[in-house]
């Protein structure tokens, strides 16, 4: 059987990243992503990469679709910045292209920043059960109606993906040829594709509304939870570290 790329999705595991409270991880993701945009030093942004790489290595998540693309994108971004940056001390000239010290710094900064955010996001997605994130958010105060909107979306995405594939195949079986049609015909096919999906979605919404209301959803402003997403001591340390990082960033921004 041919090798299949793993979709970017949760990979069950028992690492400390897996065990970390999903809300704490989400906070790290948000603060980390903002942080690499706030910090203007390419060396700091670059320095984050080995740390993320080490985490990645510990997880051994295998091949992940899009990772190679992300790395190449960051390389291209860095290269473009380097060759088109006009300021700084000129090192090399190749026709209209010039390589300067400022260009190299800018390239490294942009490429590393992009890769930092992508790797952080991948680590979050690979180690966080989406369901647990939704329950975690509800248990720290997110109104449960919003929390279940997330859970429902998570549940329905693969269902609609499968249905979309069926509808597309049904179209092919009836002679629809997307690849051999002009834009106008393509739009007609696209409309024909979405109509059955819309009808199906409406019927699913009906069934789900019956199911949810039939089980008291929305009856009370609050609800209890069988599944408890608990904070551990490790989460306490992670929150402490995050507070320290955020404080450092604030000092850095104010100082700059």
């Amino acid at each position: 059987m041919s090798r299949r790329w793993t979709r970017i999705s949760y990979v069950p595991g028992a690492t400390w990243l897996h065990r970390m409270h999903p809300v704490v991880k989400a906070a790290w993701l948000i603060c980390g992503s903002v942080g690499v945009f706030v910090v203007r030093s390419p060396w700091v942004v670059l320095g984050v990469l080995p740390a993320l790489g080490a985490l990645w290595g510990c997880l051994s998540p295998g091949h992940v679709r899009g990772l190679r693309l992300a790395v190449w994108t960051s390389v291209v971004l860095a290269a473009l910045q380097m060759v088109f940056h006009r300021e700084g001390i000129q090192w090399v000239t190749l026709g209209p292209l010039r390589l300067t010290d400022a260009g190299v710094r800018a390239g490294l900064y942009v490429g590393a920043r992009f890769l930092d955010v992508v790797l952080l996001s991948y680590l979050f997605v690979l180690t966080t059960e989406p369901n647990l994130l939704a329950y975690g958010l509800m248990q720290v105060g997110l109104p449960y109606r919003f929390g279940f909107a997330l859970v429902t979306a998570l549940r329905l995405v693969p269902v609609f993906e499968k249905e979309g594939e069926t509808v597309y195949r049904a179209q092919l079986a009836r002679g629809v040829a997307y690849d051999r049609s002009g834009p106008r015909k393509w739009l007609v096919f696209a409309r024909q594709f979405f109509l059955p999906l819309l009808v199906s979605a409406l019927s699913k919404v009906d069934a789900m509304a019956v199911s949810m209301e039939g089980r008291g959803f929305g009856q009370y402003p609050r609800r209890t939870f069988l599944r408890e997403v608990r904070f551990s001591h490790g989460d306490g340390w992670a929150v402490g570290a995050l507070v320290a990082v955020v404080a450092g960033l604030v000092v850095y921004v104010v100082g700059v």
């Binding site: 041919s2 549940r155 109509l195 019956v210 089980r215 009370y220």
Partner: protein
């Protein structure tokens, strides 16, 4: 427990009421089986009894429905839901969470029960439906039968007094169907419930000696005897001519084909051929590879090993658009394959796309439209048709471009006996005109009445490939009792391991 008095209901915008002057009394602990043709009002009755008809639809209701002293038409839906639970047809559509434990606990959490009580009741409900071993599974990984057990547990856990099942086995194979009805009977006994089951497969329910209620044209009446078994009714309306041998040229050939995805093999080393004019019924348990086989035949799935040919074209090398010219493919859900703005546009869609819509073809399609009873509806949007009408439209929509091979994936699901017999008769006639027909079905009666040949799949391999009579013998020898003889006897045969 339940009392309906002169209850009528008309949906908003509809000309005629869907339920008329319904009077019905149900005692605590009663077991009702509601039968009737598709579109007769059975599901509307279920929605009315569970209160959703008044809560979610803007129709006009007259008369009264009292359940356990509660006026269902007036009471808030949450109060009704504590008394009446509704298990819908498709478990997948009613799940609100991602795991078994979360799903079964969902209703109790919403009602703010303490965690310890939730845990106790969830364990009890899973135990009653025989799903305790599924406790930590993700819903997406469950089979159809397992999903339905979880759906039942998620309603049972709220300890309603009435549990309504709306065609709970329509997507299940015979063994899973029999198992779910056993679960329903056990639930009724264990929890002392009043149970109402809407179902076409009445043969499975006779042994529970229920009260039989028939809904037809909105009228509800008690039947003094069980209705004719689903497939026996189909058989009575059937045609002669099954079991023929000596067919035309080969239209499809699989040579040592293996297909796999998601890390496992679905079809393994499979070799067979299908001939022109042959009506073949493809059987097998859920997950045995039937749909994968059909999808491989039209090139949607490419074999990892081996070779698939349609009229000599290798599906690996031929574009689907070219293969589709020779193949008609009918999917399971009628709504997934309605693309035209009108019934007529839908009927001519394929021949138009294939560039073969001439006057002769139009005239032939007009005859098809008339034959399936859709004359006068040509300008209507397809989604306005009833389920049975959509199915008939689906069928003529894949016949319009004169395919040489017809592939039909469980198209009899949800059909009442009348509609099913009509569709099967059309398929038999299509085969008799020289088209190869491959129909996925679980019903032995379909084989006996319409088929020339049976293919039985098990774990991706063909374990039986024979004419109807010989196939019965071979299936019996394999212990596949649910697929042999009359469906009426299936529960008994499954229960005694095939004796007799």
């Amino acid at each position: 427990m339940i009392s309906l008095r002169n209850f009528s209901y008309r949906f908003e915008g509809a000309e005629a009421p869907v339920l008329r002057d319904v009077c019905l009394d149900v005692a605590p602990g009663d077991f009702l089986v509601v039968t009737g043709p598709s579109g007769s009002g059975k599901s509307t009755l279920a929605l009315a009894l569970s209160g959703f008809l008044f809560n979610q639809y803007g129709g006009v209701a007259t008369g009264s429905i009292i359940v356990d002293g509660l006026d269902v038409g007036q009471a808030p839906i949450y109060e009704v839901a504590e008394v009446v639970g509704l298990v819908q047809q498709n478990p997948e559509a009613q799940f609100c969470t991602l795991t078994v434990l979360d799903e079964v606990a969902f209703g109790l959490e919403n009602r703010c029960l303490p965690r310890e009580e939730i845990l106790t009741r969830v364990d009890w409900a899973l135990d009653v439906v025989g799903a305790a071993h599924l406790r930590h599974r993700e819903l997406a990984t469950l089979s159809g039968g397992e999903q339905q057990r979880v759906a039942v547990a998620s309603m049972l856990v709220g300890r309603p007094k009435v549990l309504i099942f709306d065609e709970p086995t329509s997507n299940l194979d015979p063994p899973a169907t029999a198992a779910i009805f056993d679960v329903i009977a056990r639930v009724r006994e264990t929890a002392a419930l009043t149970v109402i089951v809407i179902e076409h497969k009445t043969e499975y329910l006779r042994r529970f000696e229920p009260r039989w209620i028939r809904v037809d044209g909105g009228m509800v009446a008690e039947a003094d005897r069980p209705p004719m078994a689903m497939w026996r009714a189909v058989r009575r309306k059937g045609v002669d001519g099954a079991g023929r041998v000596g067919h035309g040229d080969t239209v499809a050939r699989l040579d040592r084909v293996s297909v796999g995805y998601g890390g496992g093999w679905v079809l393994q080393d499979l070799s067979l051929s299908l001939n022109a004019g042959e009506f073949v019924v493809l059987m097998g348990d859920n997950g045995s590879g039937k749909s994968t086989l059909l999808q491989s035949l039209v090139g949607f799935l490419k074999p990892v090993q081996g070779r698939v040919e349609i009229l000599g074209y290798d599906t690996q090398r031929t574009p689907i658009s070219q293969l589709a010219r020779y193949v008609g493919y009918l999917f399971q859900n009628p709504d997934h394959q309605l693309f035209g703005d009108t019934v007529w546009e839908e009927a001519i869609l394929a021949p138009r796309n294939f560039g073969m819509l001439d006057d002769g073809r139009r005239a032939e399609i007009e005859r098809w439209v008339e034959r399936v009873g859709l004359q006068g509806r040509e300008a209507d949007p397809p989604f306005r048709l009833s389920y049975g009408q959509k199915r008939r439209l689906n069928l003529i929509s894949v016949l319009g471009h004169a395919p040489r091979l017809l592939l039909l994936d469980e198209v009899l699901i949800g059909q009442d006996p009348g509609n099913a017999a009509f569709v099967l008769t059309l398929l038999r006639e299509t085969a008799d005109r020289g088209v190869g027909v491959l129909l996925v079905s679980h019903a032995p009666e379909v084989v006996a009445t319409y088929a020339d040949r049976v293919l039985f799949l098990s774990e991706g391999r063909v374990v039986v490939d024979a004419g109807p009579d010989e196939a019965s013998v071979q299936l019996a020898a394999l212990g596949c009792w649910a697929y042999v003889g009359s469906a009426e006897d299936i529960p008994q045969r499954l229960a005694d391991g095939g004796e007799g």
